[in-house]
């Protein structure tokens, strides 16, 4: 059986699905991409058993067949070929030959029957969202997802639908990020799901066509996103996400407003002399000046200050400087508001006057 396809026609869908393939696998078949050729439609599937990615491309072939190829090797081979190459794939029992020009690669094939299939999703909640909006929503909170935390339900992003509001929340136990997006229509059923880290990262990566619409389906076990020929399915984390509303500080009445870019620049400067492991920074809110100060174990010290609009009692508070920089980077507004309690209490950081993003950060005890 022989198949002929332009290099880029094959590389494009493979590039989209390669993200599910782990570099190290306990099951060899998870290192492969499944090809399913059916009436001229070539469908590519990859999985790590948690995430499944599918994309397809029309090809000129007069047979139907299923086979697997080592995903990363094929990906590297295709990328190494000249752009205008035509790739010829010949399939035998256990070996496949990939040929382009005078280059020839013989690859092993594992049984397509062993490739893990995802159960059908059987979704109960569905809505449409423009790719750009979904990407923005996730990108605003993905930085504070926990990584490899024992509290497995934090190793992902909470997606919540209530009426026509779609909210995304993440927390690593030290900080919490919240963002919301107004959907054009009401969604019948309210729902909360936790999407695992890797699924969130892949979704953000796949949203590369800003104006195109994506259909999201949610069941109790899965989230599925379809857009054009692309289909992303991820298992959900089965757990209870903490009630983020109770984490939002309500009584913080010392409010300081600063220029976002000025503070970001000052923090980037003093960070040079902060302790690499703890990244501590001291923020001093007093009168019309926010002073920032960092020092390292070698007793070197950096200081800077920005203009401040502040009415409360003077307050000195310590933070992991990364946490504040992360927040300032995703906020878009010109100024940013800090709502403070005391030196040991969580602070709320947000753009003034809007409520579609909020960030809670716990301090470092000074």
């Amino acid at each position: 059986m022989k198949l002929s396809i332009a290099k880029n026609d094959l590389l494009r869908p493979l590039n989209r699905v390669i993200g599910a393939v782990e570099r190290r696998n306990t099951l060899p078949v998870l290192g492969t991409v499944l090809f399913q050729l059916n009436q001229g439609l070539l469908e590519l599937t990859t999985t790590d058993t948690e995430i499944e990615l599918k994309d397809s491309v029309q090809v000129d072939a007069d047979f139907d067949f299923e086979w697997t190829l080592p995903a990363r090797k094929l990906f590297d081979i295709l990328r190494s070929l000249p752009d205008d190459s035509t790739v010829n794939i010949s399939l035998a029992e256990t070996k496949a030959t990939v040929q382009a020009g005078r280059a020839k690669f013989t690859l092993s094939m594992l049984s397509a029957a062993d490739f893990p299939k995802t159960d059908s999703v059987g979704a109960s909640t569905r809505f449409d969202i423009v790719q750009e909006d979904l990407k923005r929503l996730f990108s605003r909170v993905d930085f504070s997802m926990a990584q490899q935390d024992v509290r497995y339900y934090l190793n992902g992003l909470l997606l919540e639908i209530e009426g026509d509001v779609l909210a995304a929340v993440s927390t690593d136990g030290h900080r919490l990020s919240y963002a919301k997006h107004q959907l054009p229509a009401m969604v019948a059923e309210a729902k909360q799901v936790i999407i695992p880290n890797k699924g969130v990262r892949e979704l953000i990566r796949l949203m590369d066509d800003p104006a195109t619409s994506a259909q999201i389906s949610l069941s109790d076990q899965h989230i599925q996103m379809r857009s054009g020929s692309l289909c992303f399915t991820s298992k959900l984390i089965d757990g209870k996400f903490p009630d983020y509303r109770r984490v939002m500080p309500l009584d913080n009445d010392r409010i300081g407003t600063v220029d976002r870019n000025a503070l970001l620049a000052a923090l980037n400067r003093v960070q040079i002399l902060s302790n690499e492991k703890f990244n501590g920074v001291r923020l001093q809110f007093a009168g019309d000046q926010l002073s920032v100060q960092a020092n390292n174990p070698e007793q070197e010290q950096a200081e800077d200050a920005v203009e401040l609009n502040y009415s409360g009692e003077a307050l000195e508070i310590g933070f992991n400087i990364r946490y504040i920089i992360d927040v300032l980077k995703v906020i878009q507004s010109e100024t940013v508001e800090f709502k403070l309690g005391d030196s040991n209490a969580s602070v709320l950081v947000l753009p003034p006057g809007v409520d579609d993003v909020k960030f809670v950060v716990m301090p470092i005890r000074l």
């Binding site: 935390d149 509290r151 136990g173 900080r175 903490p242 009630d243 109770r246 492991k277």
Partner: protein, 354 residues
Amino acid sequence: MRKIIHIDMDAFYASVEQRDHPELRGQPVVVGGRPNSRGVVAAASYEARQYGIRSAMPAAKAHQLCPHAIFVKANFETYRRVSATIQSIFQSVTPLVEPLSLDEAFLDVTDSLSERQTATELAADIRQQIKVQTELNASAGISYNKFLAKIASDINKPNGQFVITPERAQTVLDALPIGRFHGIGRTTEQKCHNAGIETGFDLRNKSLVQLQRLFGSSAQRFFDMARGIDHRPVRPHRERKSIGIENTFSKNLESHSAFVEALDQLSHQLIARCERQGKYGQTLTLKVRFGDFTTYTRQMRLRLPATAESLLDTGVQLLGKANPEQKPLRLIGLSISDLITFDQRDVQLNLRLE
């Protein structure tokens, strides 16, 4: 020829406790886990050792061996302070100090000896200074490499020292029981017995090819050990990147409950090691090796401060990822990295989730 001294404190934690609490002197003292807990023995006084109690033994087992033993909680703050005193004595002798733990170090004194002083005299002098400044006994081994110096410090323990000269080295090694060689654990020891290797002499009589058949890639190391060859330099300021422990089983473990039991033991031993070093790690790594020698590692972030229970918890989760099919295992290991010292932990406050 190099002059290496290995200094090893005698029953360190237990001796510190006996020094600070006179009522414990002359008593079988066990430092570490409570007798009814799953903790392990961190140290045992010489009185307790007469009952067969050894460090890293489960506390419950120690209690069984000697029901009237006095169990004392470890005071690592104190041990670290004493250790700092000892370290400063070493530093006054030579900058070439390689600490192995709080109570043990190698010193390369090749270039610190005066015309009239021998390494043997210097070792006695160091032990004397330790005694004066800390009221504690230390033993010393003196030889021309690290491997032999470490063996030597064991020979006249406690409160003694021994020199292994090049002339004497082969005699000492030939007579040494195989289990006393550094790097030979229980499993390897059993393997040696099966191959008829009981002493260093037996080991030396094996050819490199025979050893390769027995030990694989470690053969050269064993070959050299039997001949007292060790070129490793004394490395000062060796900053630890991780603390770990692993166990190769004499018979592959087959069931989930056996895996968990092994993990439980490793967790307690790992926590004990961390406490000894005064460090915690923020990342836990599980290592498993299957019957066919394929090896996998899986990592997870830890919440601090870690306990034996939280290590076990995390370890079991990692095991689910590393060995989803529950295949038989020949090795399980746990290690933690991203180390931070005790006083640095937990400065970052946590959100009140739930």
